[in-house]
Every structure is written in C-alpha cells, then in structure tokens.
Symmetry: C2
Subunit: 268 residues, 2 copies
DNA sequence: TTTTCAGTTCCAAATAATGAAACTGTGTTT
DNA sequence: AAACACAGTTTCATTATTTGGAACTGAAAA
C-alpha cells in the first residue's frame, strides 16, 4: 500500500498527521515515523506551505489543512455517486424514519459519504468523511461481497477482525461465509456486530456490468425494533440501491461549465 | 504560489482536476497543464494509486478521490476553529433566524467552513468546503482587514475585482479604503456587493495577540429586511466572535487518545 | 489495409530528495 | 552566570528520483 515515490511519502505524512486526531508536534511525528528528522521536517514545511497541513505557531502544532476541505468538497460534488444518491437518501430517510447511510470503500475501510439521521437535524462533517471497519458493518459487508476475487482477497486479508461485541465475526473464514450468503440473497445484515444494540440492513450499489460502487443501509436499535421489522425494508432499500446504480451509470456530468450564478449560495 | 518540488506539482494537479468541476479526461488535463504528457501521466497514476484521485474506467475520467474526503474530515475535526465555533453558530442561528457562516482564508479566497441555513433544514457538503471571493464578501473583507501588512499586500493583489453587481468594489484602492473603515469600527458589511438582494454583516475572529483566525457573518435579503435591522445584530455577532476567539486560543485538544467508544456513530 | 490518435512505456540526462551532522535559540539545571 | 539540554532548523555532498522526448501500442476511423 505504500511507496509511490515522493508523492506516496507525502501522503503518508498527511495520513500520519490525520491519524493523531489532534494537533501534533514535530517531535511526536518524528517518533511515530520512519523518516529522518530533516526529511520529515522538509515534508512538513512543504505540505504546510501548500495548505495541505496547517501550522499553529502559538502551539507549534500541525493539523490537516484547509486545502483538503476545499478539495474534498470537489470530490464530493464530482463524485458519480453521492450527488446522485442524495435525493434517494432523503426519500428513504423520510419513509423509514431511521438512520440512513451511503458508504463507499476506501482502502478497504468503509467511508461514510452521506448520512441522514433518525431524529436529530444535522451533524455536518462529523458524519461524511468518517471511516469504519468493513468486516463488521452492514455497508462494509455488502460492498465486500460484490468485489471481484482479487480485490476481495486483498480486502479480507486487511481487516483487523477485532472483537467489538459477542457477535462480531472474528475470522476471515466466518466473514467469507457471511459474504457468500450476502451475495446469494443480495443484501447484508449487521446483527450487533459492531455495536451492541445496533442492527442494520444494507444493499450494494452496482452497475449493470456488476461493478460495485458503494452501499446504502438502514440502521435501527434493538430497543425500538427487532430484525423482522427492520427486514421489511429490504425490498425498498434494494430498489433504491438499484435506482442509484442505474442513474450513476447512465449519468454524464452536465456539459455546462459553471457559470457565474450556477451555484449561488447567498453567502457573504 | 507554485513550485514546492514534486509535492507542489502534485498538488497543482489535484487542484487542476478539482477546478474542472466535473470528471475530466487525460487529454483535457494535458491541454490545460504545462506538464509534458509522460509527466502528467505519471502524476495521475500515482495520485490515483494513492486515492487522492479516483479513476472511472468506464468513462476514462478522473475526479478528486475519496481519500480527500477522509482527510478533510480530520481537518475539520482537528481544526482549532470549526469544532469550537459550532455551538456558537447554532446559538446565533437560533437567535437571529438568519443564515450564519463561519469562514477562513485559504490562499486568499474565502473558504466556508460551516454554515447554518435560515429556513431550509440541511445541505451538507455543498456548503462546507465551498470557496468564494474575499474582496466582495462580508467575511472576506472582515478577515482581510485584520491581516498583517505583508499578508494583506499579497491578498489584495490577488483578488480578481470582478464586477458582480453595481455595488462591487472593483479596485484595490476602493477595497483598501473599506478595509480601513472595517478595521476602525470592528466589523464588515456587504451591501449587495456579491449578489443583488443579499446583504450581510461580518466580524473577524481574533486571538488576543491579534492573529486573525477567521470570521463569522449573518446574512439577510433586502426583500425581508434593510441594513438598519441587520446591523442591530452587530454587537451580538461581535461578542460571539470574541468568545470563539478566546476559546480557540485557550483551548488545548483533549488529552485522551480516541478510545473505542469515544466517537460512537451508530453506523453500520 | 492504412491512418489517426489517446493513452502508455522507455531510458539517459537533469533535477530533486536525502540525511548525518552541525547549528540556533530558548528554557532549565548546576 | 555558565553549562546544559532540547526542540527545531539549516547545510551540503551524495544518492535516488523525476523528467520528458521519442518511440510504442491498441483500438477506432478512414
């Protein structure tokens, strides 16, 4: 996974800073990295200079930079999945009244790309961009089940198989058995495998050629419902996933170059 | 602004892909870039391989990659401003009932980091991450007014001074005059300079040492209100900006390393 | 079949990255 | 006050990577 020359190393540094999940000092990074002092120093300089990192001179700490936020906005907007799925998620959330997720696979982890909450109104970035494990979530298993063989081998071998709950699948063999089942019935289930009390159903989003684009899920809690109730939504979720897949495939980006008022935002 | 060796060039390529605002083919990028074919090709390969770009094999197009979304999430979460400002924005939005923005300066453009809408419920990523001009927005001018001299020279000279409306300030001289006024009274005003019918007041967020961190604004439309009404909010906005500034400065990231259930998200 | 063209690979020359070691400046101990 | 410790910064000869013109490939058009 590592080592695309200078660029790969720079990305590693970015990930490392992000992984700390808090502002981090030079010395801390130096310790947790394999780079020699001068090398790491120059990377941090350059990345900060580029806005990929930001440096707080008061505290002498680094954090991921604002330029990433700008670029991520572009990534989300231009993605062939998220903007298309948006209205479908709205509808599904309205109909079910439950939490709804759209996820994609990013280096064999689940990346949540969009979300609708059950009750609460909004939570912003703290949702989109978050990552989770693939082997013990509904969307993760739904996606892995429809990877081609080579990609699945890679993905399955890179899971941590950490036991989050009693019901977590903790071996590649157990996971593969579940994936087989998922493939045959077309949807995945998370039966409190990641968090106690949280259950979920998920369907993959596929192109007609069988390429896996992502997954959507409906999540509930065992306090308010049981699996039988949740599974009544499966046909609906599956249909939505199919629609998203069809639109994503058919879709070509609108030809118009963004003109002055194409994306008004009334922000000043 | 350019040329930090290989890393700088790679970032340029990322920006270029993002700037197209749609999936883009190799040939298009080649045309709009100064890189020779082989060089650009290798950059695209590497960046795609790293997940910074994503490649659609069906259409042979590149878009900004998912890894950016993951990194941006970290940037937002770890930022010393956005998470702190969040509850204040909630409050300000509730009190005023108007649209509220939090912005920071990113390569002399306004980058909207968070937002609360007036009426509508949610709009997600289409908000955070968006960029706008600095010379003709309330937050932009509020921030520029509190840059140090060198930074201001750079920023002022890099504005486009495009005439969006009759009232847009279209010269550096006019802008500097307004910035002078803003500095002395402590808040900025956008009087339909960016969009007809849209007016706004904005205050800078400063540390006690005078370092400018960002700005917040309250926006209204001329249909529903006039400037006198909007300006009644100035003292409140200023106080909120001061509170955010104080907290951002005092704040140190919580010591706890993220434990298993620190950030439960009930997502599966 | 020939032509065209987008996309890909090659390799010697040019350039940039490397990292050990020396340095700086700030704060702390003797 | 001098000596020390330490995080962060700079230097520079060596080494490794990037570079890009040109040649190649394969698919589609003439």
């Amino acid at each position: 996974m590592a080592g695309d020359g200078t660029i790969g190393k720079a990305c590693d540094v970015l990930d490392q800073v992000a992984a700390f999940a808090r502002p981090v000092r030079f010395a801390e990074l130096l310790e947790s990295s394999n780079f020699p002092k001068a090398t790491l120093y120059r990377f941090l300089q350059t990345l900060t200079n580029q806005g990929m990192l930001s440096y707080d001179p008061d505290r002498q700490t680094y954090t991921p930079g604002l330029r990433l936020v700008r670029l991520a906005h572009a990534a989300w907007t231009q993605s062939s999945l998220a903007p298309i799925a948006r209205p479908f998620l709205d509808a599904l959330s309205r109909e079910t009244g439950e939490t709804v997720h759209l996820a994609q696979l990013d280096s064999n982890q689940v990346l949540y790309v969009d979300k609708r909450n059950a009750a609460q109104p909004i939570e912003m970035y703290s949702q989109a961009g978050k990552v989770g494990p693939a082997y013990c979530t509904g969307v993760g298993k739904a996606m892995m089940a429809f990877l081609d063989e080579a990609a699945l081998d890679r993905a399955a071998s890179q899971q941590s198989y950490h036991r989050f709950t009693d019901k977590t699948l903790t071996s590649e063999a157990a996971l593969r058995a579940d994936l087989h089942l998922i493939r045959s019935r077309g949807y995945a289930v998370d039966d409190e495998e990641h968090e106690p009390g949280i259950i979920c159903i998920a369907c993959p989003i596929l192109t007609s050629g069988g390429r896996m684009l992502g997954a959507i899920s409906v999540t509930g809690s065992t306090e308010r419902m049981n699996f039988d109730q949740l599974e009544t939504w499966v046909p609906r979720v599956r249909r939505v996933a199919e629609q998203i897949g069809a639109e994503a495939q058919a879709w070509r980006f609108p030809e118009t170059r963004p003109s002055a008022d194409t994306d008004r935002m009334q922000a000043t």
